[in-house]
Amino acid sequence: MSLRQEIRLSGSGGQGLILVGKVLAEAAAIYDGLNATQSQSYGPEARGGASRSEVIISDGDIEYPKAENLDILLALTQEACDKYHKDLKEGGILIVDEKMVKSLPDENYKIVQLPIIKSATERLGKFIVANIVSLGIIVKISEIVSEEAVRHAIKARVPKGTEELNLKAFEEGMALAKEWMKTHSTLVK
């Protein structure tokens, strides 16, 4: 039985979650030699302002491209959290922005509540890199792909001239997660 990890990145339009999905999938497929699929919501539900991107990573064939039993859910808005948390498997990881998501589900999830947007805006000075901060958190907490693969994938996906800022954002996300894991290490592997 091969490893299959399902990740959903959700929030609102303008948060760059599609890009995070692409980076994660390419890091796995191109640089870590795994199999990966990445898709984004195109249907009517995606046209009301919500944004969703899914990545499935596996060391075997991916026989079904749709994520239904999530291992990780990133929710950058309350709406996304409310809408999608039910797709998380029991014990799955729910990563939320502490300012945007106040009401957390009372379920058996590992909840990682961090100042994602605050870090992007206050420490890095750019709201638009909140997506890459989130990516750093996902990578550190899940160890699903190698950090080096993600760095390569970031450089190969972001616009020229923004590589350094995005890599900084990635490191910032990893640092946030590392700090969080010090006090919550028993919850996540």
């Binding site: 303008g14 199999n35 195109y42 302002g49 991916i62 079904y64 749709k66 709406e79 996906r157 616009p159």
Partner: protein, 1000 residues
Amino acid sequence: MQRNVDYSTIDLMGRASQLGNHHQKYTLSIEEHYDTLIALLDEHHLIDQIRLLRFSGAPGKHMRTIASLLDDRQTKLDMIGCYYSLQFLLLNFKAIDVLKLELSTKTTNNYNILRDFLVRTGNDFRLLSRSYMAVLLEEFLPENAPDYNILSVGTRVDQEDIDIGILDRGSESRPILTKAFSKLYSEMIKHASVLHFHISEHIGGKGYSASIEEFHENLDNKIGDFVLLNEMLNSVSIIGDEDLFEDFSSDILARYYYQKGQNNKYHEGFLRGVLGEIQDLITRENEEEVLHPKKDGLRLIKGTITALKSWKGLSDHNTTLGVLHYLYNNDIQNRDEYYRLYRSLTFLETFRFLYQLFVVQEEEIALEDESIFNHLDKVAETMGFSATSYAKPATQLLIHYKDHIKVAKYGAKKILTNISKHLSNITIFQTGRNAVNRDLVKYKSNIAEGFLSSMDFFYNTRYWDDLLSLLNNNKQLLKKFLDDFNKASPSIACRYIKWGKRSPYLFISMFTIIKKNLPRYLPKGNIYKLQVEFINKLKSTLEDIGNLGQVLEFYPKKMYNFLFILPENLLKKLIAVLEIPIMDPEVNKIRKKLLDLCNLTYSSSYYFKRFIYRVFNTYQSYLIDFNNPKKFREISEGLLKNIENFNSTEEQIKRLGTYYDFEFMRLGINAINGTFFGTLNREFTIFSDNYIQILFELCRKDVKKSYDNPPLTKDKLGLYVAGGHARKQAFEDDYDLIILLNSTNKRQKKFSNQIIVKMNKHIIRRSIMPHYKFADRFTSYVTTFQDLKDFFKNPTEDSFVDKSQLLGARLVYGSDHFQEDFLNQLIKPFIFEQKEEFISSLLLEIRNRNKFHEDTKYLNVKESPGGLRDVENFLFILKAHYEIADPVSSKLFSTLSYKMPEKETVFNQIFSNYYFLKQVRDLYHLMISDEDQLQMKYLDAIVDPLKKSGNKGFENKSELENKIISSLNKTAQHIRNILNSKGYYLDYDPSVPDKIASQY
């Protein structure tokens, strides 16, 4: 790292480095495998046959040749992937080079050049990617693989991802396909564009493919996801069994095309879905700092074209440009619209393609980051824009971009109207079993239930304007619908809300239609429950608030009318939902605006609400800026200045009315928002005087036309305002007018009367009641000096009231000479020279009124002791006493303080209390009710605005009540003291000599 590559490859890699970073995937593959590939071809003497550094017209043939040279699968895949990467880069370089050449030589117009670029590049990319997929599938699929067909469902030129659907026959051997497509996906993500399987995500079981039976299962009973249908209708078979695609076309796709005389419910459902989105996109406010070519224009254009494709049965045309070309040549009536869409489509699609090629494969382009402009310059230069002394290429591109969005929306809007008409002709509600408009008497079952069961098929579609229009235009049908709605089970409200949950526009329209046609249905039964459910289901989410905001932005009148009819408890709930911020800055902006509008509606009295309603219903575009005082001020000034730009007097008067309405509303909103009352009074007086003066001039001009030799009225005619207007007080709802003529010439009087009759007609249209102070007594709007002189020579008991009106009047139209005559012939002889009689009448009036109001438990801000009328009569007494003709104002208080220096402090206190009570009254009128008798339980509403405009000494309604009572009492006491000091006594006591009171 580059190894052993020839000069041309270096050149290729150098050019690739000029493209977006995502091309590293291709250069990485080339760097890793190019040497091996060259060696392989050299070894087999194929180096001249497969020229790697030139774009190939037969990539599939070359890939198969390469594959045939190798046994090891991984090496084979790497070599084919490397070949693909080379060809992919060459394809794009060729595309750019040819585009630049054509734009510089310009053999045709720019849009045709862009079209050729898109078609050529799209075809090249389709050829390359299809070949790559076909060769990979030959590798991954065994010989006994089941039938399949790959449908290409996306835009041909789009390199960000390749949208495909896969058909199979649903056999047990589907896992063979699933395995092969899984491998195909993994290989594509490494060396090519990512595949996207939207259809597979929605149709069929777990896997990448779906059978025709599974399409039936998913789509037969519900219209489903219109995005999916949109993809299906634009699908083309690119690889695999053609028969399978033929079966799919005839079995599934055909039913979404219009078929004359047949049941068109699938076609109708698709249109309801896609038109809902088109309407949303037309009404969507584009973000200022973000470009999104898809959301801004491309989706709109493509959706419109696919809708037309399904209506006109153009199944053979499978690109948007192809359908547009056909329509342009065959639907001559709408040719202009098609050409508009064509220009915008070619521009936006090219821009999106080049941006993604040169910068990043993202749909959103944030302009707030300055560095983006360097990238945009590059895109703009490739599209033919060159730097000029006044604008960089990117600036020019952005201007064109915005223009094309507008043009696309304009074109789509006109076409939407045509499609909507088509929809209303073919809808099952008109022609089917549940036709609602056919024969209402014969429709025996519950029509509201009938609607719902028929609409179930259309779940999640959003375009219902045609049916709303049917209900709006047929009162009998609307009544039947509402009666049946109320007769149905209470759960019907929840079922309707659930059905249309994504479309507040639908319900808001529905409620406003009921309000307009049958308002009595709103506050009761299931219709009331529908409103409750509608509000209860709203959440502070981006989607809900975004949808509501869209209604406000584009249908402001509908939104305001809805808020106007919403019961107070529901309005409060809506306010609570809107108070929570939304992260998206654009939606948050509109949320705040909507919240302000709700608060304004909630804070307004019915009297003022009615006023706003009238203004917004006549000029809905003003509603958008209602919370921007600066903008509102500018609009108002523009309205006034614009009056003279119209030629006809009628039009000028109409525009003048607009100016009045607008100013009244603007100042009312400012008052509620706590603007300083001194400012409000000043501005109110300016606009109301402007109104009367201009209206008089315009009416006189009009009346003069009916005279060959119109009489002259210079220095003979004067217009006075009395009451609050004379005192320069804001928010006087009535106009007390005195029209005086210093002449007995009948022709002059008739002429003047005709002007006033005309004026009167227009003032009434503003919902203001003009009162002509002497009209009843002298049976004419115009009163002559002689009429008044005769009357005052033989006074009645209440002639002091008429004298007060004259003494308090303020001239708004007339000469100084006329005012002098007015003072000398009327004020001096009949008031100042008969002051004792006048004053004693006023004292009696105060005394009697105070006695009446002392007995009542209600506070009346105007009539109670110490109230506004007391102050005004008190001032009349002193004006007569000192023979001062000035109207009531702060200046009059100063004059009186000068006359009675020992009472200066008391005068200041009276003025301050008077001013405070006046503010209480005005705000009470605007926010609670148009009455002077205050109901204390409602005072809460005016606490904040009173405080904002600088009043102190209260924090809540009971403290405010105390302050009002204290102001009234103190004022009454001060008035009494001052009058006593002048020998005028309000308390009648026979033992005290009272030179005035004793006369009565």
